[in-house]
């Protein structure tokens, strides 16, 4: 019983990270129709940002997100203007190949600059709360709470701010948004910047709990894709529940299926992905898109 409860807690904690990690991917796909295969590499950049700030300035990752978020937003803005903007209106394969190439460039630039050695980041928020038989890791609880806060803020932003409304309009009908005077290019660039900022923030927050290395991104991209396909594009509750579901499933399998360990995580995501895509390709939650009028 304790083992089951512990696995559930660990799964929810992992799911909290997945939820915040997947948000940016989901928004970019939902708003501009680009599947960003360099998504995991952005998480990796965020984690490296936390490591660099700690090595050089002794900064705690809890505080370094304040630096990483705006810096990565600028990065995201530039990437959108230089690279992504060229592929938005072109076939999906072009966007896939370009972001695939970009992911290879990023991870290898990082490897060249900081070598492939796995790095670890220390956080002041560490250790466990012992709740009679089960333990709750403090760092991951922090991530889960941060994920919920980010989602709430993002939800309010999209729902009520003028810019947020423009973003939703642009995702629903690009032409009509253009006609009513929304500057689509600017909206896309800002959306991309926000998404990249959140993604890097997720990377910085997860950095104390796992090894940071240049090629940590690819499995994360795949999970982001699985969760987004599962939950609907650009859907905030979808990202939360999809992330939690995938986190819990992975931890349950790793705990109760003997001799497979954590490697089974990516396999279960894949199986889940195929099942979901074949059975329910529109996702389980609506998302940014209006539901089909039927």
């Amino acid at each position: 019983m304790n083992q089951l409860l512990q696995a559930l807690i660990n799964g929810v904690m992992l799911g909290g990270f997945y939820a915040i990690m997947v948000l940016g991917f989901s928004i970019i796909w939902g708003v501009m129709g680009v599947i960003n295969l360099a998504h995991g590499e952005i998480v990796m950049l965020g984690a490296y940002g936390a490591w660099i700030l700690q090595e050089n300035l002794g900064m705690d990752p809890i505080f370094s997100v304040v630096v990483i978020f705006p810096v990565m937003m600028v990065f995201g803005y530039l990437v959108q203007r230089i690279l992504i903007n060229r592929v938005i209106e072109r076939p999906h394969m072009i966007a896939l190949l370009v972001t695939f190439g970009f992911s290879i460039v990023i991870s290898n630039v990082v490897k060249l600059s900081y070598s492939g050695t796995p790095r670890s980041v220390e956080s002041s928020l560490r250790g466990y709360w012992d709740l009679g038989g089960v333990t709750v890791p403090k760092t991951k609880t922090g991530i889960l709470i941060a994920a919920l806060i980010v989602m709430l803020v993002l939800h309010l932003f999209l729902k009520h701010s003028r810019l947020g409304k423009s973003i939703r309009a642009a995702s629903q009908n690009r032409e009509a948004a253009r006609i009513v005077g929304i500057e689509i290019g600017r909206v896309y660039a800002i959306t991309f910047a926000i998404a990249i900022g959140i993604t890097a923030l997720a990377g910085a927050m997860i950095s104390p709990t796992q090894a940071v290395y240049p090629f940590m991104g690819a499995p994360l991209t795949l999970r982001a894709f699985t969760i987004t396909a599962l939950s609907g594009l650009g859907s905030i509750p979808g990202a939360l529940f999809g992330g939690l579901a995938v986190g819990v499933i992975e931890v349950m399998l790793a705990t109760f299926v003997p001799r497979v360990g954590t490697n089974v995580g990516i396999v279960s995501s894949f199986v889940l992905l195929v099942i979901v895509l074949v059975l329910r390709p529109q996702g389980l939650f609506g998302g940014l898109k209006p539901r089909s009028p039927q």
């Binding site: 501009m32 129709g33 599947i35 295969l37 690279l83 060229r86 592929v87 938005i88 209106e89 072109r90 076939p91 999906h92 394969m93 072009i94 896939l96 190949l97 370009v98 695939f100 190439g101 970009f102 992911s103 290879i104 460039v105 290898n108 630039v109 060249l112 995702s171 629903q172 009908n173 690009r174 690819a218 499995p219 795949l222 894709f225 396909a229 609907g232 594009l233 001799r259 497979v260 490697n263 089974v264 990516i266 396999v267 995501s269 894949f270 199986v271 992905l273 195929v274 895509l277 074949v278 390709p281 529109q282 996702g283 609506g286 998302g287 898109k289 209006p290 539901r291 089909s292 009028p293």
Partner: protein, 355 residues
């Protein structure tokens, strides 16, 4: 649009064909002049090895082109068949004790069976969904190989009986490359090939005209997997050591895709020209800036796709009229309908045209 470009000239095409045949003949007698290590001479064993790798790349690029270029199903995990072929061969040789030819045939059979199973699920997906499902297949298979320790020795890898005969591998891969390219040439001229193009350009239309699109897709997918699985088996025996990380390496898929796009997606000559250019270009980059080579490769992919998506052959000929590739490369998103993603993708329509 009647551009008249250099490769449209029948004389140029004949000359190209003649030069290719000449190159094959020259290559075929090359191993006769091989010199031993330490001796002076141009034809070294390492040159033969390089050519062997290049022939493997040609065969894999040509087979990737069958699904990615002809049928329009861009496979981001194609190296999975290479890995399954390599591991199939390895397991049959070391665990079952079969001889190399039989073991390789077994590896090919395993690849084909896996392709039929996986393809019948993933080929129902369209566009990016298929691409990423294949990428996930690739990553998942690597982990499965790692987990299946009793069969594959997991992360420790397996050692095959060593067999160092460079000229033999050279000839086998040369013949394989020639046969595969000849087969794609022939296939392109059959009704089967024309059907693949029809699926690429308008799958729903092809379906409505009574073509069993699923059957065609799965067949071509299995052919493609068989070829790449065979290459994997040969590679495993040549390398004598396999482990999940050197066999299932993302870079291999990347190389195949770049070679094909560089040469010309959906053309018969494209994968050949692309592989030759890319292989030696990469070798050059490798020897001068080893550490930068993947950055250069990724940058090359971005530049190619953004500026010359038709590749060398596609840019130099107007045969694009016969095989327009419009759904993959050119057509504006606005003109693409949601059927491009997936028939039932209510929520994944990029333009919201349904509303």
């Amino acid at each position: 649009m009647s551009r008249h470009l250099i490769l449209d000239n029948p004389g140029v095409r004949r000359a190209g064909l003649f030069l290719t045949a000449l190159a094959v003949v020259v290559l075929a007698i090359l191993p006769v002049f091989v010199v031993e290590r330490g001796q002076e001479g141009f034809v070294t064993n390492s040159l033969l090895f390089n050519f062997t790798q290049m022939f493997m790349m040609i065969a894999m690029a040509a087979s990737w082109n069958l699904t990615g270029g002809f049928t329009g199903y861009v496979d981001f995990g194609h190296a999975v068949w290479f890995g399954i072929g390599a591991y199939g061969t390895g397991v049959f040789m070391t665990k079952v004790g079969l001889s190399f030819p039989v073991a390789t045939a077994g590896g090919v059979v395993v690849s084909v069976v896996a392709a039929l199973l996986i393809g019948s699920a993933t080929l129902r997906l369209r566009g990016p969904y298929f691409s990423i499902a294949m990428l996930a297949t690739f990553v998942a298979t690597r982990e499965i190989i790692r987990i299946a320790k009793p069969l594959t020795d997991g992360g420790e890898g397996m050692t095959l009986p060593p067999y160092l005969n460079r000229p033999l591998f050279f000839y086998v891969t040369l013949i394989l490359a020639v046969l595969v390219v000849a087969m794609t040439w022939w296939l392109r001229r059959t009704q089967f090939g024309a059907t693949l193009i029809a699926i690429r350009e308008d799958e729903i239309g092809a379906d409505m005209r009574g073509i069993n699109t699923t059957l065609h897709k799965i067949t071509v997918f299995a052919i493609s997997a068989a070829i790449t699985g065979l290459v994997g088996g040969l590679w495993a025996y040549q390398n004598t050591f396999i482990d999940p990380d050197i066999v299932f390496i993302e870079r291999r898929t990347l190389d195949i895709i770049i070679a094909t796009i560089l040469g010309g997606l959906g053309t018969v000559a494209g994968p050949v020209i692309g592989s030759v250019v890319f292989y030696w270009l990469r070798d050059l980059v490798w020897s001068h800036f080893l550490h930068y080579h993947l950055i250069v490769t990724g940058g090359l992919l971005i530049a190619l796709v953004l500026w010359v998506p038709e590749g060398i052959v596609g840019s130099l000929s107007d045969r694009s009229g016969a095989t327009p590739l419009s759904r993959l490369l050119h057509r504006n998103r606005e003109e693409q309908s949601e059927d491009d993603l997936i028939e039932t993708a209510g929520g994944s329509d990029p333009d919201g045209t349904e509303s």
